[in-house]
């Protein structure tokens, strides 16, 4: 091949317009020997495969303080997720009594005593910013603590792996079962396991829709087949994603699909506490504790307990890696082993890069609290708290009524038969109170100007606005028989006749120019 190319290159070289030899990046030079070497190498060893099949991960059951913490957190978080839509909250006769409700149809968001209208979506934006800064804070203190403890993917995979161990037995049994032929017992176990997976998935996807409608009504509708199609399709989609992502894809979601580990890695610094294998203490690892060579060995007995319990199947002893979600189960596993062989706990432990340097040099690490409280985390906390306080303050200061006025422009003014001038306004009155309230409309005008206020089909001194809703009204200002000219500032007011709350809107009365 190479020789052919050279010959052809030479033969075409004469016809080349530039008269320069044609060369290509990566093409062999006029050095046949090196090319031959390269080709023989590539013939002997296949090029590295670009695809690696997934290795099954069957984490071993583990017990210890971190496992207990994860149990507790899982219980709390699942309880919050499942119970929240069923909590009732009395808001009177005119509003839904569900404590947390995203009412898309009526464009309202209810959260206990707070009610958000669509134009107040900045509260949701504020919550998202707080969630973002909260994640920055937790990440700078504890690394990927979100991944390890709170991420729904982690929580549901954890749940599924418990089910798996319950049905198939622990790690080794699961490996054996995987390799076994499809006999009746395996079929039974698989059917049972996947059915439970599907039930959990259904409960997960099913619970989600209750946040968007009255939960008891929707449940009976779902069961009796009366619920809207969108409810069923949402349940179906979320059931499918839970079943697939939690039951089968598992750690691949974290490693290949999720952008968060990549972003989070950029937010760690040398003071962040991460799950660390203290290789300066553990290495060289070795099993033969009683041999003469054991004197030179570190604390790691290479028992692989940390690998066996890892839900993403990584070896923490290789250092920080994208697959490590810092769930800390390896700490529990290793501490258990250390206790058995009579060594101090913490061969694998939460440790910062800065402390790693200190410990390597034989110094005592800085107290954990000093690692946690530092300018960066103080700044994050201050920002987080400031936004939170600002939102709470503005929540308490916001009005329960609102008035917006749009002056009609087509026509700007109307000449009436008696020569007076009339302007028309589209008035929008919002009543966010939980009862229907009567409102009085009034206008303040400069001294010496007389304008009469009327409303279409309504008495402007008693406009009844239904509970928690807005109403549009056409309102007219008419001069008293005189030909008002030019632009006159006008302030329209609404007053809630029950609460005496008032809200103004500044606009204009426009007459002919001359």
């Amino acid at each position: 091949m190479c020789t052919d190319w050279e010959e052809e290159n030479k033969s075409t070289g004469g016809n080349n317009q530039q008269g320069a030899p044609v060369t290509f990046a990566g093409a062999p030079d006029n050095d046949g020997e090196s090319t031959a070497t390269r080709m023989s190498v590539s013939n002997e060893t296949d090029p590295p495969a670009l695809y690696a099949a997934r290795k099954e991960v069957f984490p071993k059951a583990v017990s210890g303080p971190f496992r207990r913490l994860k149990w507790a957190l899982m219980a709390v978080m699942l309880a919050i997720y499942y119970v929240t839509p069923w909590v009732r909250w009395d808001r009177g006769a005119h509003l839904p009594d569900q404590a947390v409700l995203v009412d898309l149809a009526n464009r309202r968001f209810f959260f206990f005593w707070i009610e958000i209208w669509p134009q107040e979506f900045y509260y949701v934006a504020g919550l998202l910013i707080m969630a973002g800064i909260g994640l920055f804070l937790f990440t700078s203190v504890l690394g990927r603590v979100w991944c390890g403890y709170a991420c729904p993917q982690t929580v549901w995979v954890d749940l599924y792996q418990h089910v798996e161990r319950w049905i198939d037995g622990d790690r080794n049994n699961q490996f054996r079962l995987l390799k076994r032929k499809w006999d009746a017992d395996k079929l039974m176990r698989r059917a049972l396991k996947w059915s439970i997976f599907l039930l959990i998935a259904l409960a997960t996807g099913g619970a989600w829709v209750f946040y968007f409608a009255d939960a008891p009504t929707l449940l009976s509708d779902l069961i009796s087949g009366q619920a809207p199609l969108v409810a069923y399709s949402t349940v179906a989609i979320l059931t499918a994603t839970t079943f697939v992502l939690g039951g089968f894809m598992r750690e691949q979601v974290c490693i290949y699909m999720c952008p968060w580990p990549r972003i989070q890695a950029a937010m760690l610094d040398e003071n962040s506490l991460t799950v660390t294998y203290k290789d300066w203490r553990g290495e060289p690892r070795g099993k033969h504790r009683k041999s003469a060579a054991a004197a030179n060995l570190g604390d790691c007995i290479d028992c692989n307990a940390c690998v066996a319990v890892c839900p993403t199947g990584v070896d923490i002893r290789n250092g920080q890696q994208i697959g490590c979600i810092t769930c800390a189960l390896c700490i529990d596993a290793c501490d258990d082993i250390m206790a058995k062989i009579g060594k101090p706990r913490g061969l694998i432990d939460y440790c910062s890069l800065a402390d790693e340097k200190l410990e390597r040099a034989g110094n005592t690490p800085v107290p954990v609290l000093k690692r946690i409280i530092r300018p960066r985390t103080i700044l994050y906390t201050a920002l987080w708290a400031a936004i939170g306080v600002a939102m709470v303050v503005s929540l308490f200061l916001r009005d329960t009524i609102d008035l917006t006025v749009r002056q009609s422009r087509n026509p700007v003014f109307v000449v009436m038969s008696d020569g007076s001038i009339r302007n028309s306004y589209e008035v929008n009155i919002q009543n966010r109170n939980p009862e229907p309230n009567p409102f009085r409309l009034s206008a303040t005008v400069p001294d010496g100007v007389h304008l009469r206020l009327t409303a279409q089909d309504t008495d402007p001194t008693a406009v009844l606005i239904p509970a928690d809703s807005a109403r549009k009204l056409r309102v007219f200002l008419t001069s008293a028989g005189e030909r008002l000219t030019g632009r006159i500032p006008v302030t329209l007011w609404i007053e809630n006749l029950f609460t005496r709350e008032r809200s103004p809107y500044t606009t204009h009365f426009q007459g002919p120019d001359e």
């Binding site: 091949m1 026509p411 109307v414 038969s417």
Partner: protein, 286 residues
């Protein structure tokens, strides 16, 4: 050019073409891709059988499912109208007072009326209903034939000077100049008298006499007009064809016979009710 050969590194044949020493591998398509490709061919064949597809000389194959996008649109419109049948029947049977006192029905009527107005009325009366010279302003409180909701509905239903409708209404002002009833000097005089009603010019005795003889029977002794006959009020501040001397003279000389179509056979009862509610609500309604 050379014959296809087997590439040693991959075990795949080349295409046999060679460009400046670069040979292209003839790697087979992935199987999933190939099967997807075959599936799309089968899909395409089935689709052209089921749906309108192949162009013929003057039409196209209709497909065995009988689908057409135009038919789908008609179905969508029919479904929409069927869904509104209840409220439209309610609207058609309700009196105007009932509609006005029912906020939900009124809101529906206003919104629907605005839509009908934009479609059928705004061409003459303007998008904001402020009218144009010759096309009445519907926002003010001056009405040729009455400004109650029933009056407005009546006008919409039967039109004005619309010969095709038996119940349409006429007001026939003579063309005093064109018909030779008055001379141009007399017309100038009576125009001044008419404009004097609203203080636009000096009154004069000659004009007053001509007015009393020729105009007062319809327009009233002091120009207050008569809605029964559709005779405009001449004493107010509103002039349909302009209130300057030349415009008034032109009106008296040639007469104006504005025409509005009857909508009774083009709009449904519900639509006419909506329209009357909407126009009445623009501010001038009585």
């Amino acid at each position: 050019m050379s014959d296809p050969e087997k590439d040693e590194a991959t075990g795949t044949e080349t295409t046999g073409h060679e460009w400046d020493g670069i040979k292209e591998l003839d790697t087979p398509l992935p199987r999933w891709w190939l099967w997807t490709f075959y599936a799309t061919i089968i899909w395409g064949v089935l689709y052209t059988i089921a749906y309108p597809a192949w162009p013929m000389i003057s039409t196209a194959t209709t497909g065995v499912l009988g689908y057409s996008s135009r038919g789908e649109l008609a179905q969508t419109i029919a479904n929409h109208e069927a869904a509104l049948t209840g409220v439209n029947t309610q609207l058609a049977n309700a009196s105007f007072d009932d509609i006005a006192s029912n906020p939900d029905l009124n809101q529906y009527a206003q919104a629907g009326g605005a839509s009908v107005f934009r479609t059928y009325c705004s061409q003459c009366h303007g998008a904001g209903a402020a009218g144009l010279p010759g096309y009445p302003n519907l926002v003010d409180d001056d009405w040729l034939w009455g400004g109650t909701r029933d009056d407005i509905a009546m006008t919409i239903r039967h039109g004005i000077r619309w010969d095709d409708d038996e119940d349409t209404r006429f007001s026939q002002m003579p063309a005093f100049g064109d018909d030779g009833v008055l001379t141009s000097e007399e017309i100038e005089a009576v125009a001044s008298h008419v404009r004097a009603f609203s203080g636009l010019s000096q009154d004069n005795a000659e004009g007053a006499q001509i007015y009393a003889d020729n105009c007062a029977s319809c327009h009233g002794e002091s120009g207050e007009g008569d809605r029964e006959q559709g005779a405009p009020n001449l004493a107010d501040a509103i002039w349909l064809y302009g209130g300057d001397q030349a415009s008034v003279v032109s009106t008296i000389t040639h007469a104006r016979h504005g025409v509005m179509p009857a909508w009774g056979n083009r709009l449904s009862d519900a639509q006419i009710k909506q329209l009357a509610m909407y126009v009445h609500g623009l501010g001038g309604g009585e």
